[in-house]
């Protein structure tokens, strides 16, 4: 079997628990992401999502386990992996434009200043930031605008893998919706591989090709990989009409509400902990199978 584009093998993270003992966040987590895929990881706060993402970004080292991307081991941050941080992490002393262009200049040291600026402007325009706004400092922007800058900065560098840590967590619902649409559009045009963290179920269904479900920690597990069997292009008003939408949504709600607790707290026996693939597809199947029976069928 060939390795997926991004391959996570037996990833284990332990921390001192602060009382002289050891806390295992997750153990032997093993999964992969294919090239061009949009994968969303969903789980309760504190289960270890950010920890996984920081390891994928190369910003943190796991206790054990390997991450490979494109056949090469991840051993530190790289321009090939762009990160959109939860708190935007814009540099407050730089203007909006400079926040994007310093990254572009780092990626393309051979480009002229004019080319760097033009490229940066284009990407800011893609997320709807044009005109005077791009000369303002981040402190003069709204939360939504800041997150747009952060997304523009990441996409402008054409990373092979884009990592987003709860990018819309701090935004109001309307702004979140608009930026989700923008994200989908840029992703659709670029074909980049995206790995995103969220705790918002509807956001996950709208954006993802596949949702990884994580149980609560400690000893959290990436327990399931749920295929989102809703064709693209998707938009938020139409997808709710799709026959698979509520079946998938119910499955996710079930998991987060109940099974994420039931499955928590089990040490692995040293073997790779792979998520179970769940595929819920009610289209073109026999008449009237209740979602519940189908769910049970896929979960055995």
């Amino acid at each position: 079997m060939t390795k997926p584009f991004l391959s996570i093998e037996n990833l284990t993270q332990r921390y001192p628990d602060g009382q002289g003992g050891i806390m295992t966040v997750f153990e032997d987590a093993t999964f992969g992401v294919e090239k061009g895929e949009f994968v969303v990881i969903l789980g309760h706060s504190g289960c270890g999502k950010s920890t996984i993402m920081n390891i994928l970004a190369g910003l943190a080292d796991p206790t054990s386990g390997v991450v490979t991307m494109d056949g090469r081991e991840v051993s530190g941050p790289s321009l090939d992996r762009g990160v959109v941080f939860q708190n935007y992490s814009l540099l407050p002393w730089l203007s909006t434009l400079k926040n994007v262009s310093f990254g572009v200049a780092a990626r393309h040291p051979d480009w002229s200043k004019a080319k760097v600026l033009e490229h940066s402007r284009n990407y800011l325009a893609m997320v709807g930031l044009e005109g005077d706004v791009i000369h303002r400092k981040p402190s003069q922007l709204s939360g939504g605008m800041r997150q747009r800058v952060s997304i523009a900065r990441a996409f402008a560098n054409h990373p092979k893998l884009l990592l987003l840590d709860e990018p819309f967590g701090a935004l109001d619902a309307l702004t979140r919706g608009t930026i989700q649409d923008e994200l989908l559009k840029i992703w659709g045009d670029s074909g980049q591989t995206v790995f995103m963290i969220t705790h918002d179920i509807d956001e996950a269904i709208l954006l993802a090709d596949r949702i990884l479900l994580m149980t609560n920690g400690p000893f959290a597990r990436v327990a399931e990989s749920v295929d989102i069997t809703i064709p693209r292009p998707r938009n938020r008003t139409d997808i709710v009409e799709h026959p698979n939408y509520y079946a998938i949504r119910n499955h996710l709600v079930q998991f987060l509400g109940k099974r994420s607790k039931d499955l928590a707290g089990q040490a692995s026996d040293g073997a790779a902990q792979r998520p179970e693939t769940v595929r819920i597809d009610l289209t073109g199947t026999a008449k009237d199978p209740t979602p519940e029976t189908r769910l049970r069928a896929v979960n055995t």
Partner: protein, 277 residues
């Protein structure tokens, strides 16, 4: 009454306080009699000689006008214009200060970046910092054998601590998120230091620089009183020996004005590097 802005009202009040203060001062000083009004007896007993007393502000103004209209004259070692004296003091302050900055800021960077360096150097800093800079003077004079250089050394040693500590503190406190942004863009150590850590820590560093220049200006007056020769501190002391209190008061004011200007320069710098999160 037309409503004045806060600033206008404050200005009005400042002027009022100044005028009232000067009037009280002027009224509190008994006028010296002119020679013509003296009685025979007073003239014989030396009453005509200028008496050493606190002068009224009007005299200080006259003195200030004289001195400031020709600040750079040089009539021998004991008689130089106020501009020359202040020039010497500023020269000493800036040389000592600049050397301190050249040592303190890179060293502070190192200490801020490395917990080991911080722990290793901290005991030395804690012992050296509370020493009054003038306490170094005898040692400096003995080792350097030059009063000019010793004064500069004293400035160096007193300006180094606030800059060192603030730089270390500012660098250590740079948000990990910003450092992570640099890391994900593969910026490298030098580039990260200049494009992320320096601007992030700049407000704290400049605050340290501002404290240092204030201390340096306080210390130079005392140092020049000790080493003598030139400088505003020497000038004050010299005029005191001449019992010329008008000049003493005038030079005290000049010390205040120059100190304020130095502080304002750093306040401007502080505004330039400030950022809102």
């Amino acid at each position: 009454m037309p409503s004045l802005s806060l600033n206008q009202r404050a200005l009005l009040m400042s002027v009022l306080i100044l005028v009232v203060g000067l009037l009280i001062w002027e009224a509190a000083i008994p006028a010296q009699k002119a020679v013509g009004e003296l009685t025979e007896y007073e003239r014989l007993t030396g009453g005509g000689a200028q008496k050493a007393g606190v002068p009224p502000p009007s005299q200080v103004f006259v003195k200030a006008w004289e001195e400031l209209s020709n600040p750079f004259y040089d009539a021998g070692p004991n008689d130089k214009g106020i501009g020359i004296q202040i020039g010497y003091s500023i020269y000493r302050v800036l040389s000592g200060y600049l050397m301190a900055a050249i040592v303190a800021i890179p060293l502070g960077f190192l200490i801020g970046m490395s917990p080991v360096a911080y722990k290793a150097l901290n005991p030395f800093i804690q012992v050296l910092r509370p020493i009054s800079p003038l306490a170094w003077m005898p040692l400096a004079l003995f080792i350097i054998q030059d009063s000019e250089a010793s004064a500069i050394f004293v400035i160096f040693i007193c300006s180094i601590w606030p800059m060192l500590l603030n730089t270390a503190f500012g660098v250590a406190g740079v948000r990990q998120d910003w450092v992570n942004v640099a890391r994900t863009h593969e910026l490298g150590h030098i580039k990260t230091a200049f494009t992320v850590i320096l601007p992030a820590a700049a407000p704290t560093i400049v605050t340290g620089m501002r404290i240092s220049i204030g201390i340096a200006w306080l210390v130079i007056v005392a140092a020049e009183m000790l080493v003598g020769g030139t400088g505003i501190g020497y000038y004050v002391w010299n005029e005191w020996n001449n019992l010329d209190l008008t000049s003493v008061i005038f030079s005290i004011m000049m010390i205040g004005v120059v100190g304020m200007l130095l502080d304002m320069a750093f306040a401007t710098l502080q505004r330039a590097v400030a950022y809102a999160e």
